[in-house]
């Protein structure tokens, strides 16, 4: 493997070289301090200056070569590449060390480079967003060249099986064309999200009200971390719990009531997802409820209302924008949740209003399309990116709306 050797030699070689460069430059700087002339910067800065001159040319050339390799422009053997990198690094070091004398302002140079590094780090988060958008859009576009966007958004039949054959270039005469109607998948996502919110919003909101308005300080200090454990449990664990414990319970309960329930029913993942989101809703609501000025409560209580009336008519309306934002963020959390539905919900797209039937969701279909052994280039695998695209858009909209709502709220009390 070319990569592993490269990494090994690069770091194995550059680190000792860097230490040497630091020592050499530092002592050279100290040596130049004579006849009462004092160094401009602390000695360490001269060391760092040399290290930068060593590492930067080596890193930049290495990165450029690997990009060239990646795009298939040209590629050179690893030993030559390494040699070139070390040669450039050495040349840089020589150039850098030559600069060092008493008047040289090493600190300013080092700080300039550091600031640039900070800016590069900050831009990685932007690059991540661009990366997500590009990776999703690029494949989606290829998908929508084959399948019309309108059919995808409004079709009610999701039968992608024959897409393999077309992807593999097989003879497709006499085979039904694959259908990518995503409505049943969206409907399934919507149903599970609705169930989750039906659990999470009342429980989370009332927990927050109890903790911020009724509980003593000590009780609150103990209850809050316990609730937060719910948010710290990995989703794969929730998925196991939903599939192995809750689903059979629901099937049994439905049977006792004379109803039929699938083991992949929508109720089990929905309920568990709701429980998972409780601390999310409660901590966000708790924050906004605590932020309501005490004066509003005191005024209301002074007019003779009961505590419950104060909360219902004064505190909650004042906190409403924040609570709405919490609700929206919880929705986006539920829509994007993957493991619980992968493990406890079904695979079969099913357009139904019955939560006891097996249904499937956007995230399940993404995982299904990308974890098999299929060729990457079939419309089936590309459909995952199209679904991811929809997921991205919905989450972004929900997030932006909630940010706007919160911002409006803030202006009222400041």
């Amino acid at each position: 493997m070319i990569y592993s050797d490269l990494f090994f030699w690069l770091f194995g070689g550059l680190i000792p070289l860097g230490i040497t460069a630091f020592m050499v430059a530092r002592s050279r700087a100290l040596g130049s301090e004579k006849d009462g002339a004092r160094l401009h910067s602390l000695p360490g800065y001269y060391g760092w200056y040399a290290v930068i001159w060593l590492a930067l040319p080596a890193m930049i050339s290495g990165t450029l070569f690997s990009f060239a390799h990646m795009f298939g422009l040209f590629s050179i053997p690893a030993p030559m590449l390494l040699g070139a990198m070390f040669a450039l690094g050495g040349a840089g070091l020589w150039y850098g060390v030559r600069h060092i004398n008493v008047d040289f302002r090493a600190r300013e140079k080092v700080e300039k480079v550091t600031t640039i590094l900070l800016i590069i780090a900050a831009s990685i988060s932007v690059l991540t967003t661009i990366g997500i958008v590009l990776s999703v859009v690029f494949e989606s576009v290829r998908f929508f060249q084959v399948i019309s966007f309108w059919d995808f958004i409004t079709g009610t039949k999701w039968e992608p099986d024959t897409a393999f054959l077309i992807g593999a270039g097989r003879d497709t005469t006499g085979i039904a064309a694959p259908a990518f109607g995503a409505v049943p998948i969206f409907a399934g996502t919507f149903m599970i999200t609705a169930i989750a919110l039906l659990v999470a919003v009342p429980v989370g909101l009332f927990s927050a009200i109890y903790m911020s308005e009724y509980a003593s300080h000590a009780a609150r200090g103990r209850l809050k971390p316990m609730l937060e454990i719910l948010a710290g449990i990995p989703t794969v664990v929730y998925g196991f719990f939903a599939a192995i414990t809750i689903s059979p319970l629901i099937v049994k309960a439905a049977h006792a009531l004379g109803l039929e329930a699938d083991y992949t029913n929508a109720l089990a993942p929905g309920l568990i997802m709701g429980v998972m989101i409780i601390p999310f809703v409660s901590s966000l609501s708790d924050d906004v409820i605590t932020a309501v000025p005490q004066g509003l409560r005191d005024g209301s209580l002074a007019l003779g209302t009961t505590k419950a009336e104060t909360i219902r008519h004064i505190v909650l309306p004042a906190a409403l924008p924040g609570i709405v934002a919490a609700f929206l963020l919880a929705t986006s959390r539920a829509i994007g949740e993957t493991m619980i539905v992968v493990m406890a919900a079904g695979l079969r797209p099913n357009l139904t209003a019955n939560p006891l039937e097996g249904i499937t969701t956007v995230t399940v279909k993404i995982v299904e399309a990308l974890t098999g052994d299929q060729e990457f280039d079939s419309a089936f695998t590309q459909s995952a990116f199209a679904l991811g695209f929809v997921l991205l858009i919905i989450t972004l909209i929900l997030n932006i709306v909630s940010t706007v709502v919160v911002r409006k709220f803030k202006q009222r009390y400041e």
């Binding site: 592993s4 780090a121 988060s125 932007v126 991540t128 429980v203 992968v342 974890t371």
Partner: protein, 389 residues
């Protein structure tokens, strides 16, 4: 005597009742959440605890020429289905390594088959034939079958046979992936936060970065998997299923968490500290590096630990970048196919054999123990740092 308003009295009682009810709703909500938590832990521990024990049976092992040719000859025929295939298969290897065994018959405790194991633990779905059930019952009376601590669960990798499956490979994979995540996400996250909080001019670009980070924090984790697949694997050529691609993907996912926590920690450092340092002639980087950063360290550590704990429990993006393959051995490098603890839990949970279910739950117990410890450590840091100013 004042006139008594009975109507108002009744209304007041009604309002008081409504007041009590409202408080009860709150109490009920908390009770529901905590009751669920209790039920959850009891259920998982009840399911997982048996996996920490493993059946062993005492048989006479024949180290003979016939065994060398066919490992099925190692034990008497009636015991063949009771002992684990994984142990049987290794008998010839053992003989090769220890030539002095040849020609001897020894009584040994050996690994029991998973159906025997499940039967001994009293699980309904053990699927052991009734013929063997009576045999095991008899052996139990003779004391030639026992349940011992399942050390193999911690010292072995994945296996298709539940009695031989352990979490070692996936635990090492998890540590490797997490190390890579930490090496990438913590420096970049802290540097981003320092830039935004201490250096960035308040312009459109900075605002864009800020909005962007908040949005990234809300993006579903599975989309990071799509990014990892499209960019890291298909575009950059990082090997699929490797610890490197998993670590990078999780690092991008953890980045916003660390940035947001670090910014909060930096903001909590009072400006008087900065001004005092400037007053003594420090440059802006020196102010940050020598004064602000050390003071913000507890908060940064808390945020980093919470972010890494989150990454450690994450599964969905790792499935997309292929980290759910069957991997019995711990990875030798960051470029080899690797699995992680949550992914191992996922693959075990889809196995049909009953014995895998308890192993899944046991794996969950291990994962939860690690994550809860990490979170507790993070909370300790936060509590210690809170009262500084």
């Amino acid at each position: 005597m004042s006139q008594h308003n009975f109507q108002a009295d009744a209304r007041k009682r009604k309002r008081d009742r409504a007041d009590k009810r409202f408080k009860l709703y709150g109490l009920a909500a908390i009770t529901f959440a905590l009751a669920f938590l209790l039920f959850f832990f009891v259920d998982i521990i009840g399911k997982g605890l048996p996996a920490f024990q493993q059946a062993e049976i005492k048989v006479t092992v024949h180290y003979s020429e016939a065994t060398m040719k066919n490992y099925n000859n190692a034990v008497d025929r009636q015991y063949k289905t009771l002992v684990s295939k994984t142990w049987l298969r290794l008998v010839p290897n053992q003989m090769r390594d220890n030539p002095e065994l040849m020609g001897t018959d020894r009584e040994e405790w050996v690994l029991g088959e998973n159906r025997v194991d499940q039967y001994l633990k009293g699980n309904e779905g053990h699927r052991l034939k009734s013929k063997y059930q009576t045999m095991i019952n008899k052996m139990q009376e003779e004391g030639t079958v026992r349940l011992v601590f399942n050390s193999g669960f911690f010292s072995k990798g994945d296996s298709k046979l539940p009695e031989n499956a352990g979490i070692l490979a996936s635990a090492i994979g998890s540590i490797l992936v997490l190390l890579l995540t930490m090496l990438f996400a913590v420096p970049v996250g802290v540097m981003t936060a320092i830039y935004l909080e201490e250096f960035a001019p308040d312009n459109k670009l900075t605002q864009l970065i800020e909005v962007n980070i908040n949005n990234l924090a809300a993006i579903p984790s599975i989309l990071y998997g799509l990014l990892g697949l499209a960019i890291f694997i298909n575009f950059m050529g990082v090997p699929r299923s490797s610890a490197l691609v998993g670590g990078l993907t999780l690092a991008l996912m953890t980045l916003p968490v660390i940035i947001i926590a670090t910014r909060a920690a930096l903001r909590a450092v009072p400006d008087s500290i900065r001004e005092a340092a400037y007053g003594l002639g420090a440059s802006s980087l020196q102010v940050v590096w020598h004064h602000v950063l050390p003071l913000a360290m507890p908060g940064i550590l808390t945020g980093s630990i919470i972010g890494l704990a989150q990454a450690m429990g994450e599964t969905a993006p790792l499935l997309i970048v292929g980290m759910m393959a069957y991997i019995p051995e711990a990875p030798g490098s960051i470029f080899e196919a690797t699995t992680v603890l949550p992914a191992q839990i996922y693959t075990w949970s889809s196995e049909s054999l009953r014995a895998f279910e308890e192993r899944t739950a046991a794996g969950i117990m291990v994962l939860l123990a690690v994550l809860l410890t990490l979170n507790a450590v993070a909370v300790k840091f936060r509590n210690r740092s809170e009262n500084t100013w």
